[in-house]
């Protein structure tokens, strides 16, 4: 039997064979039905059945053989996925049958995910990629490779860039290979209608000669989650792994005083700016922001005087629950959770549960909650506004404030909008836009950023208060009212214990932005695409 498995393994390892093998469910006792199906081309049989005892001499119990075969298969599967990953990393598309396999597996994985995937910190959040494969490689270089770093990609993997296919398939391969290490959510470009217009469809036709691959990918799009909820993010800026591992020459290790709320690093890990929690104002780069709002003031409209009167806070301490906390109230939970979504909020969505109730397995509709989540933008308005995009809405700071409060969120991270600086925090850090396509479309001249969040050691313990359930709104301190903000927040801080300690404005997590530029021109090999002269008058 061992020989049999070895033979199989040998067969499966043949490079031209792109294995699709699955094992039918073992019976409870694990020794009855063990059958595998392979492509008939491999062994000339559609189905291969483990011989009954007696037919073949077994040197060990049948169940253990089954198990060993299964393990072998899993190993083989991983090997094959690794091969595909290696090929895609070299920016070479994988063959069509393999894409089909991959998409099939990805769908099996994604169907298990809810509309809002729960992700535990530490995690690195990335925005739009748009088929800029070489810049995606640069992103992995800057942010650390999978599976060493956990990644969350907030959609828009395809279109506009010249390597949508390789970029998306690589991310999908990584997802299949390391399902716990990488999370993909859907962007507005992950749609049939949009991809036919903005390049992905044409690219599939160009690279495969048929629309099949495009069709497989579009089916995967329908299964992508709509949002992600990050739990257990620390108020401290995460440990700088890159510095320890790769950049030993670095001297700028982050301060260990837990005072840094936000720091911005360049592609080589050099610290560009730091923001301390006690500081009232943001660093120079963010000073250009429209509302350089003080640290913990949720109200846009409150006067600077109000906020200055707030004592400098170190919320990582004051916000924690009493040390006597039970298993369900881990002591180190310091922040609320983060919602990650491609576009933004919807007037039809007031709680996370409302997102969870959507039927997401469809083409992105033209209107409605699902459309809004993928299309909306924050804007300096009050309330809701009309989106000039022709889909979704604009939403103002009061909407974000209220939504974050109601759902115990400390922040919303989203992508969807090009920001020249790579990231942009708005509305007193209640929402951040992360953009990860440098020099977008090879002409916009912007830099890109990724956002790293550290873990607070609670291992998702804050889930109890961060699941967005409406019933506990009563117990939440803080204020949505612009006038009373400062005082109430302070009050809660001082009370500092029990359920009341859950503040309105949950401490924002420590954030490290890594800003990077487009990959060097030499590695790009951009296909020449000169528009033909046309009648334009």
């Amino acid at each position: 039997m061992a020989r049999c498995a070895a033979l199989l393994r040998q067969q499966m390892m043949r490079p031209e064979f792109l294995r699709r093998a699955w094992m039918s469910q073992l019976n409870e006792d694990g020794d009855e039905e063990a059958s595998f199906s392979f492509p008939s081309s491999l062994i000339g049989l559609e189905r291969w059945r483990l011989p009954q005892e007696g037919c073949v001499e077994f040197d060990q119990p049948r169940s253990s053989i089954v198990r060993s075969i299964r393990d072998n298969f899993e190993a083989i599967e991983e090997d094959a996925t690794d091969l595909a990953i290696a090929q895609l990393r070299a920016c070479r598309p994988i063959p069509e049958p393999q894409v089909r396999e991959l998409c099939y597996k990805a769908r099996e994985l994604l169907i298990e995910e809810g509309n809002v995937v729960t992700v535990d910190a530490p995690v690195t959040i990335c925005g739009d990629i748009h088929g800029q494969f070489h810049d995606l490689m640069e992103l992995f270089r800057v942010g650390g490779d999978v599976p060493d770093t956990n990644y969350l990609f907030m959609g828009d993997f395809v279109d506009r860039g010249f390597y949508s296919l390789e970029s998306f398939l690589l991310l999908l391969c990584l997802k299949v290979r390391y399902p716990d290490r990488i999370t993909l959510i859907r962007g507005n470009h992950e749609s049939r209608q949009i991809t036919t217009v903005y390049g992905f469809y044409d690219e599939c036709i160009r690279k495969y000669g048929s629309a099949n691959v495009w069709r497989y990918c579009c089916e995967v799009f329908d299964y992508l989650a709509l949002g992600a909820l990050i739990l257990g993010a620390s108020t401290e800026v995460p440990e700088n792994r890159m510095q320890e591992k790769t950049f030993d020459t670095q001297t700028t290790l982050p301060d260990q005083e837990s005072e840094i709320e936000c720091e911005v690093l360049d592609a080589n890990g050099e610290v560009r700016e730091k923001l301390f929690r006690s500081q009232g104002n943001m660093n120079p780069a963010s000073a250009s922001r429209k509302s350089p709002a003080p640290d913990r003031d949720p109200a846009e409209s409150s006067s600077p005087a109000t906020t200055v009167s707030q004592p400098p806070t170190s919320p990582s301490q004051s916000n924690t629950k009493p040390p006597t906390a039970s298993l369900f109230q881990p002591p180190s939970t310091t922040t609320g959770s983060l919602l990650c979504v491609h576009g933004g909020l919807s007037p039809l969505i007031s709680t996370l549960n409302a997102i969870r109730l959507l039927d997401r397995k469809q083409e992105v509709p033209h209107e409605g909650a699902m459309c809004d989540l993928l299309w909306s933008d924050p804007d300096d308005i009050e309330g809701w506004g009309l989106s000039p995009r022709g889909a979704g809405f604009l939403f103002g700071s009061d909407i974000v404030r209220h939504f974050n409060h109601k759902n115990d969120l400390s922040m919303i991270a989203r992508a969807h909008q090009l920001v020249m600086e790579g990231y942009k925090e708005m509305f007193s850090k209640q929402i951040v836009t992360v953009w990860s396509a440098p020099n977008y479309c090879y002409r916009c001249g912007n830099v890109a950023a990724i956002l790293e969040l550290g873990e607070d050691g609670s291992h998702g313990g804050c889930i109890r208060r961060a699941n967005g359930s409406e019933g506990r709104r009563e117990m939440v301190g803080g204020s949505v009212n612009s006038v009373g903000d400062g005082e109430t927040t302070n009050g809660s801080n001082q009370n500092g214990g029990g359920l009341n300690a859950v503040l309105w404005n949950l401490a924002t997590p420590g954030r490290r932005y890594r800003v990077f530029e487009a990959a060097p021109q030499g590695t790009r090999g951009m296909p020449a695409k000169k528009p033909v002269g046309e009648y334009f008058l």
Binding site: P388, C441, C444, N481, G533, F536
Partner: protein
């Protein structure tokens, strides 16, 4: 071949009907080659029947087997503008007499779609779009003027044509305001400006200079982008010289537009092409139809039309913005950034040519009608503001700790 055979053949040939008159030699010879490709069904059936058995060829007066298949003439007959607009209006502005096609809105609350065609086109370029829009927004009004130097708009003979962007924008604003006066409206109805190509630059200029004040709900630009237009200008002259200089008839002009895929919708070409051509009666040569507008002569204005278009397009506050492109999105840097920041609505019709609104009037009408509905201030109901809800007591303020 023996003499007998020859005489036999001659005798038989005399019985045949006289050979058909050679078809009039069209001015655009190079296009003839494409005829057969354009009508694969016709030519295919002919060739297959002749290939199957030569013996079955029966020459008859009704069937000229070897003649190039000609489509019935009525396919390229022109259509009257009356099928598309209610009336035409003339508006005098000094020595210039502006001409516009017009359908009044049902009320002053209904939108007025104002068009501006591109260089070398005419107000009827929007005829088929208007027809499609009317079924979607029946209460709306439509105003499609001829720009100066185009269509029926008359400019004083002795002056050189001023086609600068500023003049054209002032003209458009004048036409709209004069229509307002002529109709005796109390105020301007809400206006959606839509311009194609040069017209896109004109409507952007009108919105940018606020020539119509607050009445503009939104404006749409069809298939023009500053960056790619500027690039295309270099090849524009060679393009213009490759066009036929004259046509035998209006129908052949329409045919050329359709065959050359300049306009890919025959119905639209039948109404929009006739005003582009003017009969030449000066020469002694047989009457031909020439281009009404000499586009090469407008060259000095080309750069003026498009310079700064992208930034102007993006910078107008308080009005909806629509950009409709044909083929692929050839956005320049500025528009690309604007689009990715969600500053305007972009629609791309991959199957359309430069005359997007003529090639795909229904699809365009759907987009435009949606664009109007989204920007319609009278019916716009946004979800309530959070603070208002709290004031009304419908929502519990979050700071109540109970």
């Amino acid at each position: 071949m023996s003499a007998l055979q020859k005489s036999f053949a001659r005798a038989h040939l005399q019985n045949l009907p006289p050979p058909p008159l050679p078809p009039p030699v069209p001015v655009f010879d190079e296009r003839e080659e494409e005829d057969e490709q354009d009508h694969p069904s016709l030519s295919a059936s002919d060739s297959s029947s002749s290939a199957s058995s030569t013996g079955t060829i029966i020459p008859s007066p009704t069937r000229n087997l070897f003649e190039r298949p000609r489509v019935s003439k009525s396919q390229y007959d022109s259509l009257p503008w009356q099928d598309f607009f209610d009336r035409e209006i003339y508006l005098d502005n000094g020595a210039t007499r502006h001409h516009a096609y017009f359908s009044a809105p049902a009320s002053l609350d209904a939108p007025l779609f104002c068009f501006h065609h591109g260089a070398g086109a005419s107000g009827l370029s929007f005829a088929s779009l208007t027809a499609a829009l009317r079924s979607a927004v029946p209460e709306a009004g439509y105003l499609s003027p001829d720009c100066r130097g185009h269509g029926e708009t008359q400019t004083p003979e002795n002056q050189t044509l001023d086609l600068s962007l500023a003049t054209l924008a002032t003209d458009l604003a004048f036409v709209i305001n004069a229509t307002h006066v002529q109709m005796g409206w109390q105020r301007l109805p809400p206006i959606i400006l839509l311009g194609h190509s040069l017209g896109g630059a004109v409507v952007t200029e009108v919105a940018y200079r606020k020539l119509l004040g607050n009445a503009i709900l939104g404006y749409g630009v069809f298939d023009v982008v500053e960056g790619s237009a500027m690039d295309a200008l270099q090849s524009m002259e060679s393009y213009l010289s490759s066009r036929p200089r004259s046509f035998q008839s209006v129908a052949s002009g329409i045919e050329w537009h359709v065959r050359s895929r300049t306009i890919r919708n025959t119905t639209s070409a039948r109404v929009s092409v006739p005003p582009l051509l003017v009969q030449n009666q000066l020469e002694d040569s047989p009457a031909t139809w020439l281009w009404r507008t000499d586009l090469s002569a407008t060259k000095p204005f080309w750069e003026n039309w498009f310079t700064g278009l992208s930034s102007k397009f993006l910078s107008v506050p308080g009005a909806g913005k629509l950009l409709l492109l044909a083929g692929t999105d050839r956005l320049d840097k500025e528009l690309m950034i604007g689009q990715m920041q969600g500053k305007y609505q972009l629609q791309v019709f991959p199957d359309a040519g430069h005359f997007v609104h003529e090639d795909q009037p229904e699809k365009t009408a759907m987009i435009v009608a949606d664009f109007w509905r989204r920007n319609d201030r009278s019916t716009l109901v946004l979800p309530p503001k959070v603070d208002d809800l709290i004031k009304q007591g419908k929502l519990k303020p979050a700071n109540q700790k109970k």
